[in-house]
């Protein structure tokens, strides 16, 4: 399984959902995907192209484009190619389907992306903060316009 045949296979299966693909090297492939169909694309990748290892899932904030990008870095146990899927979401209401039914370990990655960027994962089994306290929900600290959590210690309240 080499990089080009992976791209061809994805294109033939999802002609409307995959765009802006790029083969960076023999082992690195990048593709953009429409956010509505992310779960189907991931399921196809896992079942037909042996991309069984979700390395990570995270967000990137692009305030000047008004977008939040969710990235899926997916590797494999059978071949050395690593595929990066990118889904662009509107910054004012970022929503995307959860891939937990396909990749079990996406659970925590999605919880973290939710609390740090405010991306809402539809049908996630248990969407609640992972590393931040509850009262920081809504601050979205990893967005670029975050200015610091209001300091509510006793000294500052007096």
């Amino acid at each position: 399984m080499d990089a080009n045949s992976i791209i061809d296979s994805l294109y033939s299966q999802f002609p409307d959902d995959i765009y802006d693909t790029d083969v960076e090297s023999d082992i690195r492939v990048v593709a953009k995907v429409k956010s509505e169909n992310i779960t189907n694309v991931c399921r196809y990748l896992k079942e037909n192209l042996s991309f069984g290892h979700l390395s990570c899932e995270f967000g990137i904030d692009y305030p000047d484009r008004g977008e939040i990008q969710v990235l899926y870095v997916i590797g494999s146990y059978e071949h050395p190619v690593v595929l990066t899927l990118k889904a662009d979401l509107p910054r004012d209401d970022p929503q995307i389907e959860s891939v937990v039914p396909v990749y079990w370990n996406a659970n925590w990655y999605e919880r973290e992306t939710y609390e740090l960027f405010g991306v809402k994962f539809i049908d996630h089994p248990d969407l609640k903060p992972l590393v931040l306290p509850e009262e920081m929900l809504g601050e979205w600290p990893l967005r670029k316009d975050y200015k610091g959590f209001p300091n509510k210690t006793a000294k500052n309240l007096v």
Partner: protein
């Protein structure tokens, strides 16, 4: 929530955030029926440091000291993943001598991490004197690391395109003095593990992961290799000079706690073998590439815009950095993909149906590092 599901004759036991078994603060809430774990959940975030945000506000060179602190036992592989990202983005070629030195320090770091992890683990299952044995050998290995990098735990040793310092004079002799003792010690640990009836009763057949389940849960490193999957980034996607070195990927079939410890024992021997090969093969030459702006003293450097994912084999599994550069002197976004993150996440399914006494035996055998999960 776990509290809402508690049925009659059931109770919830909290382990942590402070517990001798835990490598850092996290909480494990287990719902018990009698002595059997019905359900459990992991709570994280007690030492969240916001390293990903901090890295966005530091220059590339300052970032090296920050990534050291992600996991104190694997500081050098964290640095390798971070520095490797920048080198790929900027197209820096690392001279061969520096590559060999990096392999030496990273394998030493793997050795000391496994020695500590294994010794700690033995004390979890009631074998406390074992910890004292391994910590003694680890001290010798740390002294070797100290003689190269000048620090025991947080090294800040790698630089873009090279390493901070050359090997000290007489390092090969030091290795020749220390390694035979470490080898002998590892043989004796293995002997103890093989013959001790209590240890075997607590580990053989406990916490079994099969290959398919381990892949589904996304774990990597020794817990995955203990199930028979030869997944090792050093072989699958060679970085540095690992292609030129002779070593084997250590695997076991059983997938239980005993197999995980056995994999770590074998990996320590392989690490020492790798270091000895490096010392035989290491060429003379410069530490930094010539005629580049990136050297030991380049506090401000602009990296060409781009995105890259670089991964290395940490003592605990796949360590990857995803770096986005916008052409300025600071990274636009850095994602740290630690190996322990999926491993710790896999605890609740692994603990389902086991006895309370085995919680510590199973959770400890994953060799977790909370600092890296929280970041």
């Amino acid at each position: 929530m776990l509290e809402e599901k508690v049925g009659p004759s059931e109770m919830i036991v909290h382990l942590g955030p402070q517990h001798p078994m835990l490598p850092g603060p996290f909480r494990l809430n287990a719902r018990l029926r009698g002595e059997t774990v019905v359900d459990s959940e992991v709570e994280m975030g007690f030492i969240h440091k916001g390293i990903e945000k901090i890295l966005e506000n530091k220059t590339y060179l300052q970032g090296i000291t920050i990534v050291d602190r992600i996991c104190y036992l694997a500081a050098l592989s964290n640095e390798e993943a971070y520095v490797g990202c920048v080198e790929k983005l900027a197209g820096i070629e690392v001279p061969e001598r520096s590559q060999y030195i990096r392999v030496i320090v990273e394998e030493l770091s793997r050795l000391q991490s496994h020695l500590l992890g294994m010794g700690e683990y033995a004390s979890f299952v009631g074998f406390v004197s074992m910890f004292m044995y391994t910590i003694k050998e680890r001290e010798d290995v740390l002294s070797l690391l100290d003689s190269i990098t000048g620090a025991r735990i947080t090294h800040s040793f790698l630089r873009f395109g090279g390493v901070k310092d050359d090997l000290p004079a007489g390092f090969k002799d030091d290795v020749k003095r220390v390694f035979p003792n470490v080898r002998k010690a590892i043989d004796s640990y293995e002997d103890m593990y093989r013959t001790d009836a209590i240890y075997k009763a607590r580990t053989v057949g406990v916490g079994v992961l099969t290959a398919d389940i381990a892949k589904d849960l996304g774990v990597s490193g020794p817990p995955l290799r203990a199930t028979g999957v030869p997944f090792d980034i050093r072989k699958d996607e060679p970085y540095l000079v690992y292609e030129d070195l002779d070593f084997k990927v250590c695997t076991e079939k059983a997938g239980d706690v005993y197999a995980r410890i056995q994999v770590r024992l074998d990996e320590m021997r392989e690490s020492m073998y790798i270091i000895e090969q490096c010392l035989d093969q290491i060429p003379e030459g410069p530490l930094f590439p010539e005629n580049t702006p990136y050297g030991k003293r380049s506090p401000v450097m602009r990296i060409p815009a781009g995105e890259v994912y670089h991964r290395v084999e940490d003592p605990r599994g796949e360590m990857g950095f995803y770096m986005v550069s916008d052409g300025s002197d600071k990274p636009y976004r850095v994602k740290v993909r630690g190996p322990v993150y999926p491993t710790l996440q896999a605890l609740p399914p692994l603990l389902k149906g086991v006895k309370v006494a085995d919680i510590v035996a199973i959770a400890g055998s994953m060799d977790t590092c909370t600092s890296e999960v929280d970041r």
